[in-house]
């Protein structure tokens, strides 16, 4: 009916027609014309040319017409900012309208017009609406603050809207509370440390009250906000849980999942022996099961989350295995997720059922799903030892079907079963060998070759079998080639007499005809082993292999904890921390479960420390008691006598004893906390100049009887220097200067005496440069780059501490080999990584790279992906720690993203030069 003429307008001629209709005197005609305009706009046609005519229709008392014009305005104001100003007056007037619907509509629409000039006019009406007597207007205004913040954050802060918004959390109307929470959460996302949602027991109580009365969507916002709160004790935790549990019966699945998140998090704080804890566990299962009867899209998200929940608390769903059984018409993404959870829930009690199901799935049509089902059987065998035999026979049954991909998949998993239960199921090898010819996938071929090599002594024609593979050696994939090489060497070691020729053939193929370095290297290693010491070769090649672990794809515990805190979010769907993928990860804070053993990293305070001015240490500090024991007299105050182990000449010993511990401690901190990486930031941040810190006053004259020391650290031609200016502000002459450092994180020590030769007379300054070495004793400092210094003169000994820029420690030889870099980058565990942004740096990637090179940060490789330049960089600290960084530069965006990784902390040389200690830091 209507659609015919609504969709008929395409050509420009009709634009004129519409123009005429819009300016018509008849109300009805006007309205129909606006409708036509909106209809064209909806389907993506450009009707922006009609802007002035449509805006003219705005001053009307017809609500529908007004709404339609507003719709149009929102769409096109951005492209016609000057025209949009024309609408301002009407907006301001509408904000005073007696009808709350119109007031709300006006403030709502105004917020959607993303034109700077308009936002200025918006402030006054918005302020009024936030305090409006009608809650409908207030709740609309709350959302409008979030919109305005998105357009102009500074304006919102200057106008004090954030405080008004915080006040709305205590509003009497639950819907207003919910919208205020939603708006604040959205704003907080772009201000990670702003503390906008300052949760305390009072606000929590208000939120819980509002939770019962607001709409379903409001409940989601409130629950998500509650999840960020950390209760003071288990009683508070329990009372919140009790008030949240009814939400599990809500019809809206998003409410249910958000409630599950709150409960999963707060449960951590409840003592396990509490009755309520058990009750809560029981209450969690039914709503999760119910989610699975919803539409497939909901099921998918629910299943991804259940996957996390099952890993954290398997007891919740252990009796619910059957609901994860696959229906044949489930979409594939649901099927695969269900399968994954089935394996996680598999136990001795239910393994028979699970296996029967898996076998059923292996005959389905979808190839991906069938493969995964076959793999799942293997995983069951490895997970539930008692079932291994049954699994193997199931797999054999499947091999009998002769369906090509089923057979290949089965052979791959049987190899894993052999690894887990060696010498138990070798009887099946004969059956496997029958299918040798049908294997055409590298993974299956490699698995089969491994099996033949491993059990060569029991397979009579092993040499023939392997020889048949050798024929097309060069056409095989690397995986197969490597496996074939190893298998033949194994065979040779087991049956040396008959297979000499074969092994020579494969060794020459691998070493001479191949250009794959891995293959060649492995070939040479075998060759040399075999030619020099066959006994050793036997010990190496036929060494007993470690058993493979039970569950291979569990999520790492710390990541799992973080993900549990993010149940119901995108992070939980991707099983990745939000920092890994959320656009401009600025707003992301790592969340941890409360009450768990891991202390949450206190990034806020750490940042505070590193920015604090260097504090003067009181002279009684026992840390410093031993500091100056050599050429200076120790303080005569109550400090303890200097311990024997201190001092320069003890450095080497120290390093191997306590020093090593502290080094490991140091490395741990470096790795586990973002804190230390913050020290690297200044170096990277200061892209615009060669990095030198400006001169700071380290020791004010007041604290040092008239001696003022200011200075800075620089690195010149590979030598670290401490450049100081000593000023005498006292009335008497100063002489006999000497300097000493306390043990510090990177072993900094003066390389020579402090060169102040002439006496320093009153009001005179002298500059002294002190070269530093990095072979001094090591002790972890807090913050890492803290340095405690003692200076002596003829008057007294003075102590101060200062912080040196880490960039000073970047060695000239910090350029890593490309290959090494690549390999290392891949191997680093994710939790060594931290990310941050550099704001407002107007350099392109090449200029940045040059500048950084000046600070010994070397660019190893550059890659351009979708307009983003990625620079891969390495730097090496003087103590041998490597830092790898990825710098992402988006053309036109002054903010850089840097991910930094601390690596394989290589060789650390002691000052005595005698001991070389290699420390490999491994994942816990």
């Amino acid at each position: 009916m209507m659609c015919d003429f609504l969709f008929s307008l395409v050509c420009t001629g009709e634009i004129f027609e519409l123009k005429a209709e819009l300016n018509s005197d008849k109300k009805e005609k006007k309205k129909e014309a606006v409708k036509k305009v909106i209809a064209s706009m909806t389907v993506g046609k450009d009707v922006s040319a009609l802007f002035p005519d449509v805006v003219n229709c705005m001053q009307t008392d017809n609500l529908e017409l007004k709404k339609l014009v507003y719709l149009y305005l929102m769409n096109y104001a951005k492209s016609q900012p000057d025209m949009a100003i024309m609408a301002v007056n009407t907006f301001v007037k509408d904000c005073e309208d007696p009808n709350p619907l119109i007031r709300a509509l006006a403030v709502r629409t105004m917020g959607c017009i993303r034109v700077d000039k308009i936002t200025e006019y918006l402030c006054e009406p918005l302020r009024k609406c936030l305090k409006d007597e009608d809650p409908y207007v207030r709740k609309t205004a709350a959302v409008c603050v979030a919109k305005l913040h998105d357009i102009n954050a500074q304006l919102v802060e200057d106008q004090g809207f954030l405080d008004t918004l915080k006040d709305l959390i205590s509003d009497s109307n639950p819907m207003v509370v919910a919208n205020a929470v939603a708006a604040l959460s959205e704003i907080a996302e772009s201000h990670p440390n702003s503390n906008l949602l300052d949760l305390n027991p009072q606000t929590i109580n208000k939120l819980l009250t509002a939770l019962n009365e607001c709409t379903e969507w409001g409940q989601i916002f409130i629950l998500d906000c509650l999840a960020n709160y950390t209760p003071r004790d288990d009683r508070e935790s329990q009372s919140i849980c009790e008030r949240v549990t009814p939400r599990l019966s809500h019809a809206n699945s998003a409410v249910v999942l958000s409630a599950v998140k709150v409960l999963m998090k707060f449960m951590e704080m409840l003592p396990k022996d509490l009755d309520y804890y058990g009750t809560l566990l029981k209450k969690l299962a039914p709503p999760l099961v119910t989610l699975l009867s919803a539409e497939p899209e909901l099921q998918y998200v629910a299943l991804r989350n259940i996957n996390l929940i099952v890993q954290r608390r398997p007891e919740i769903l252990k009796h619910e295995m059957k609901v994860f059984f696959v229906k044949y018409n489930d979409p594939i993404y649901v099927k695969l997720e269900k399968l994954d959870i089935m394996i996680r829930l598999a136990s001795q009690a239910n393994i028979a059922q699970v296996l029967a199901e898996l076998k059923e799935y292996a005959t389905e049509v979808d190839v991906d799903f069938v493969r995964k089902a076959v793999r799942a059987i293997g995983r069951c065998a490895i997970k539930v030892e008692q079932s291994a035999e049954r699994c193997v026979s199931t797999l054999l049954d499947l091999i009998q079907t002769k369906v090509n991909y089923v057979v290949q998949e089965a052979i791959v998993v049987i190899k894993d079963i052999f690894r887990k239960y060696p010498n138990k199921y070798e009887s099946v090898i004969a059956t496997l060998c029958e299918n040798l010819d049908s294997l055409d996938e590298p993974e299956a071929r490699a698995a089969m070759i491994w099996i033949v090599g491993e059990y060569a002594e029991r397979i009579d024609n092993a040499d023939e079998l392997l020889e048949s593979f050798l024929e097309g050696f060069h056409d095989e994939s690397t995986q197969v080639q490597l496996q074939l090489l190893t298998a033949i060497v194994k065979l040779f070691l087991k049956k040396p007499t008959e297979t000499q020729e074969l092994v020579q053939q494969v060794l020459s193929l691998a070493t001479q005809d191949s250009d794959n370095p891995d293959l060649r290297d492995r070939g040479y290693i075998y060759w040399r082993l075999l030619s020099t010491d066959p006994v050793a070769a036997k010990e190496v090649v036929l060494a007993e292999k470690p058993l493979i672990s039970e569950e291979t794809d569990l999520i790492e515990p710390t990541l799992l904890e973080e993900l549990i805190c993010h149940i119901g979010t995108l992070a939980s769907v991707y099983h990745k921390p939000p920092s890994a993928f959320v656009e401009g990860s600025r707003g992301v804070q790592h969340k941890r479960l409360p009450g768990s053993s891991v202390e949450s990293p206190d990034t806020g305070s750490a940042a505070g420390v590193s920015e604090a001015p260097p504090a003067v240490i009181p002279s009684q500090g026992d840390l410093l008691g031993d500091l100056l024991n050599l050429d200076l007299t120790p303080p005569t105050t109550t400090g303890p006598p200097p311990p024997a182990s201190s001092g320069m000449q003890m450095g080497a010993m120290d390093l191997l004893g306590g020093g090593l511990d502290s080094l490991v401690g140091l490395l741990n901190t470096v790795l586990s906390e973002a804190v230390s990486l913050r020290c690297v930031i200044p170096a990277l941040q200061n892209l615009s100049s060669h990095y030198t810190t400006c001169c700071q006053v380290w020791l004010p004259a007041m604290k040092a009887k008239g001696l003022e020391i200011s200075g800075t650290f620089v690195r010149r031609a590979g030598v670290i220097q401490m450049e100081m200016t000593l000023t005498n502000k006292a009335m008497s002459v100063m002489t006999d200067f000497a300097i000493q450092f306390n043990r510090n994180s990177f072993g900094l020590a003066p390389a020579g005496p402090l060169q102040v030769l002439t006496p320093l007379s009153p009001n005179q300054s002298i500059e002294a440069a002190l070269p530093l070495s990095t072979v001094g004793p090591v002790m972890k400092m807090e913050p890492l780059n803290n340095l405690q210094v003692a200076v002596k003169n003829n008057i007294d000994v003075f102590y101060f501490s200062c912080q040196y820029p880490i960039s000073m420690l970047f060695a000239e030889d910090g350029k890593m080999e490309r290959q090494v870099f690549l390999a290392t980058w891949k191997d680093i565990p994710n939790d060594n990584e931290s990310q941050f942004q550099i704001k407002d740096c107007h350099l392109n990637s090449d200029a940045a790279s040059n500048k950084l090179q000046g600070s010994n940060i070397f660019t190893i490789a550059k890659r351009t992906v979708e307009g983003q330049d990625m620079l891969y960089q390495s730097m090496k600290l003087t103590n041998g720690i490597w830092v790898l960084a990825e710098l992402r530069v988006q053309a036109g965006n002054p903010n850089y993203t840097v991910s930094t990784v601390l690596v394989v902390l290589a060789v650390f040389k002691s000052c005595a030069g005698a001991a070389v200690i290699t420390i490999y830091y491994q994942k816990k």
């Binding site: 009916m1 659609c3 609504l6 909106i38 209809a39 909806t42 389907v43 017809n62 609500l63 529908e64 339609l68 719709l71 769409n75 951005k78 709350p100 619907l101 917020g111 959607c112 009608d134 409908y136 959302v143 409008c144 979030a146 109307n173 939603a182 708006a183 959205e186 996302e189 709409t215 379903e216 009814p246 019966s249 809500h250 019809a251 998003a254 249910v256 039914p286 099961v289 119910t290 009867s293 539409e295 899209e297 909901l298 998918y300 998200v301 059957k322 609901v323 993404y333 059922q353 005959t363 389905e364 049509v365 079907t401 119901g568 979010t569 995108l570 992070a571 769907v573 991707y574 656009e583």
Partner: protein, 418 residues
Amino acid sequence: MIHSLFLINASGDIFLEKHWKSVVSRSVCDYFFEAQERATEPENVPPVIPTPHHYLISVLRHRIYFVAVIQSEVPPLFVIEFLHRVVDTFQDYFGVCTEAAIKDNVVVVYELLEEMLDNGFPLATESNILKELIKPPTILRTMVNTITGSTNVGEQLPTGQLSVVPWRRTGVKYTNNEAYFDVVEEIDAIIDKSGSTITAEIQGVIDACVKLTGMPDLTLSFMNPRLLDDVSFHPCVRFKRWEAERILSFIPPDGNFRLLSYHVSSQNLVAIPVYIKHNITFREGSSQGRFDLTLGPKQTMGKAVESVLVSSQLPRGVLNANLNPSQGTYTFDPVTKMLSWDVGKINPQKLPSLKGTMSLQAGASKPDENPTINIQLKIQQMAISGLKVNRLDMYGEKYKPFKGIKYMTKAGKFQVRT
């Protein structure tokens, strides 16, 4: 929050777009089209698709993809639930949710979307409230509007929007006061080839149609409330009362609504209303296969099993089927290999059967997949879980309403493996 919405039809055209914040170019849907190409079936498109700057969350309803674009971390379920609400609203307003209906009412659609979401925050999603704000199009109203020049947008603030009972408007008046409740249960089950139940569960709902004057306060009690251990309520139900007394106490919304949905889990024994005897075999080397199905009633408590429809996806190798039904009609689609047999009512004295042969491609090997049989059925006047309403009382109003309870059992995802 939700940034934009694109509606995409089965042939991959974007026929409607709506932006709640800044405009997102429709090229973002290219990522969706890529995923769509990769998926073998339309329903296999993954619901969450990442793109470099956005996330696409989609649902497929009535052969239309509703694709929401989000930019920051938003709970995906929130988005999916909202999209479902959009679909329900369209269906409610236009009777059907099809491309044609949406295009016909494009302005109403736009007004609705604008009203449902503000800057990505849900605003009004309750159908009661929406209908007060924007009147659904009817032929009569369109005519009246054209003649009188009145509008289909409400001038008043919806009364329910801010009251303690946001789901009900004030001043409701009916001459006939009536309250009807439908207890509908669906059985989801997987039966293995030997006829034993692998898993069976019941998804139940109580849908209500309440047309009562004023502010009635209803209570509904059950004979056997213990059956309901896993329930999701409409927000109107007082949860505390349920926890304490197992009685549903509520002020109902006006009109049609879902009072509660419940789930009887697989741990309880679920009665299976029909059994099926099947013999579908292929012999190696023969281009013929045998097909033999017989249906019979099992635990139906004496009620008749009606509207039975059996369907099965036969193996790809099957060229055609030559079958003979004892009752009803069957069709076989040689392209999709879908066999469906409309059985009708099962007569316990004369069991319906479908027998005959299937022809295979000559020389093709025996198919290795076993077809699964899907069954749909209806049983009137019985809830298979045994749930029974005890009584329905009304407080707060003086008149005497008509009351009615209806029970029905249906097969949900009821599958028999062969």
